[in-house]
């Protein structure tokens, strides 16, 4: 319950900051909405319509009111409303995010587990160095390289768009590879911590086989930092999709944001930031709830 209340506060803070950001810009907000070539009358009209001539706190309430109706303002360059535009694209980005998460987990967890169990061996060291490399690869490099290799040169995967499940593969890989590297390191250290603890030794002393110990006891506890990390991942993904969606032509929020950049469309960008932050808060909330469901001790603690 506390988590829920806290999330609301964070959400509110996010909205406040997004609102403030419009005004730190050393430009006339009316001009931002009206565009570079707006006439003085048009600007005055915009000011009246959006209430820019009113005191700041009143403007904030106007802003809140508009938000509640889903009105994020007009997108200058595209001539459509920001809110609906973002909303229609959100499912695509979410789909990509989930796929990326799967990539991260399916590659990262086995890799890290193996490294922990075979600690100190060549396999461990090699995989950890590989993980470090994976972390350092820029996605804006990996994306085009994968695209060139597997979609253009050898036409295994489609070169863009979101028409088929196959189209999801390359972007998800690009998005998830760095995270996979991170998870492998995370689970390795977490598992090593858990394996050194007393109750594991007790289980072994009782005669449980190694694999049973790992499966039944160790993993369950080692996995908790990973779950916490998943919540933080959402923030990372929503940044990452700008690059990945542009490179692969994936019709999500990121691509729209990239378009907004080249079209100099501040309303759209700010809208994307807001939607992104909201998504992050919600994702973290879901993670927290999952946490509570998985680990009853947390429930009692809180």
């Amino acid at each position: 319950m506390r988590r829920l209340a806290w999330s609301v506060v964070v959400l509110f803070g996010v909205i406040i900051i997004t609102f403030v950001l419009r005004y730190i810009v050393p430009a006339d907000p009316a001009r931002i909405i009206g565009g570079m070539h707006a006439t003085p009358q048009a600007l005055a009209g915009i000011r009246r319509q959006y209430g820019f001539d009113r005191p700041l706190w009143l403007q904030f309430f106007d802003y809140l009111g508009r938000l509640v109706h889903g009105d994020l303002g007009p997108s200058l360059a595209l001539g459509i409303d920001v809110g609906p535009a973002l909303l229609t694209r959100l499912p695509f980005t979410l789909e990509l995010a989930v796929a990326g998460l799967l990539v991260e987990l399916l590659i990262g967890i086995p890799l890290g587990t193996v490294a922990a169990l075979w600690r100190g061996t060549m396999a461990d060291r090699v995989s950890m160095v590989a993980a470090l490399c994976g972390l350092s690869v820029p996605s804006f490099w990996l994306g085009p390289v994968l695209l060139s290799l597997f979609a253009v040169h050898w036409a295994i995967f489609p070169a863009g768009g979101a028409d088929s499940a196959a189209a999801l593969v390359l972007p998800a890989l690009t998005l998830g590879l760095a995270g996979a590297a991170w998870y492998s390191r995370l689970i390795r250290s977490s598992l090593l911590d858990v394996l050194g603890s007393d109750y594991i030794r007790t289980a072994r002393a009782k005669g449980l086989s190694w694999s049973a110990v790992v499966r039944k006891h160790a993993m369950r506890n080692a996995i908790t930092p990973v779950i916490t990390q998943i919540g933080l991942d959402m923030a990372y993904f929503l940044g990452g999709v700008i690059v990945v969606e542009s490179v692969f032509g994936w019709p999500g929020i990121g691509q729209l944001a990239a378009l907004a950049i080249s079209n100099d469309d501040p309303n759209l960008i700010m809208g994307a930031v807001l939607v992104g932050a909201v998504a992050v808060v919600l994702a973290n909330l879901i993670v927290d709830i999952t946490y509570v469901l998985i680990d009853p001790r947390v429930r009692l603690d809180r």
Partner: protein, 309 residues
């Protein structure tokens, strides 16, 4: 995507203990010297730094100069090894090698400065929250939580787009959105340090709070600051390169690795690999730089706290 090196963007446990007593400078140095990966990282960083500093003398040509003979008769860029152009040219006739060398300047400059800003903000906020506790701590840490909700690259992109792209703006923006991880770490460290004997002793002798913070606590923060700075520079370099890739970074004709990658990706053509050197070299440069800082940061962390392996 990797606008940010996850190593620094992810948050470690808040309650990390400050390094134990086995951190005499001598033993740290010894451990570091044995860590071959960290040394490799340091070597790469030094190489790039030297490249950046010596750019005017090292680069064969002016990076913004367009060579008429830099494009083939069909208008295509020249591959590496062509006379006079060691790493080839791009579609406009620039020398790739020169642009790579000068690009190191930008990347390292922005990376180090942006990280410095993030460190200053993060340490100030984290230490204040950790030491003063109470309402101050609540406000600061809650603010940190709110900042964490924003997808960092998205926020950075938004800020740079709304202000005009330019080196100072980029440095400031990257610094302003990247301080949260450092703040959390320092917060945890100061919380633990606050309870130590020497702090009690100082307080008992009547030393003022600010003085305690600066003279007594800050020196103990040096090792986490150094470690996470290395990782932070990696993040910042990646951030700048991503911004440049999206067109928000260093503007043409100044060279920037990120933009070189985006330009390279755009011309690969129907075969997918028409001019691979345009894509591979700048990307490799970013990758190696980020990797080097990550290796060094990792090595430093292990050297300063060997129990963490």
């Amino acid at each position: 995507m990797q606008p940010l090196s996850p190593l620094a963007a992810r948050l470690p446990a808040d309650d990390q203990e400050p390094a134990p007593a086995s951190t005499s400078r001598h033993s740290v140095w010894r451990r570091l010297r044995k860590d071959r990966l960290a040394l490799a990282g340091a070597a790469i960083i030094l190489a790039f730094a030297a490249m950046a500093v010596a750019a005017p003398h090292l680069a064969p040509y002016d990076p913004t100069q367009r060579f008429v003979n830099g494009i083939s008769d069909q208008g295509a860029p020249l591959p590496p090894g062509t006379a006079g152009f060691l790493l080839g040219t791009d579609t406009i006739g620039h020398d790739v090698l020169s642009r790579l060398i000068w690009g190191a300047r930008v990347s390292l400059f922005v990376g180090v400065l942006a990280n410095a800003i993030a460190v200053v903000i993060g340490v100030a906020l984290g230490a204040a929250a950790g030491y003063y506790g109470g309402l101050v701590s609540s406000i600061i840490m809650r603010f940190t939580d709110i900042m964490l909700a924003f997808p960092v690259l998205l926020l950075g992109v938004a800020l740079v787009a709304v202000l005009t792209p330019g080196i100072p703006v980029i440095i400031a923006v990257i610094g302003l959105v990247s301080w949260t991880s450092m703040a959390r770490i320092i917060h945890g460290q100061v919380l633990a340090l606050r309870e130590r004997d020497f702090v009690e002793a100082a307080r008992a002798t009547g030393v003022g709070s600010t003085r305690i913070l600066l003279r007594h606590i800050l020196p103990h923060l040096v090792s986490p600051i150094v470690v996470y700075s290395s990782l932070g520079v990696a993040t910042a370099v990646l951030f700048e390169a991503s911004l440049s890739f999206l067109g928000l970074g260093i503007q043409p004709p100044e060279p920037s690795w990120g933009r070189m990658v985006s330009e390279g990706a755009a011309v690969q053509g129907a075969s997918g690999f028409a001019y691979p050197w345009l894509l591979l070299f700048p990307g490799a440069a970013v990758f190696l730089t980020v990797l080097a800082f990550n290796l060094l940061g990792d090595g430093l962390r292990d050297a300063l706290d060997p129990t963490s392996r």
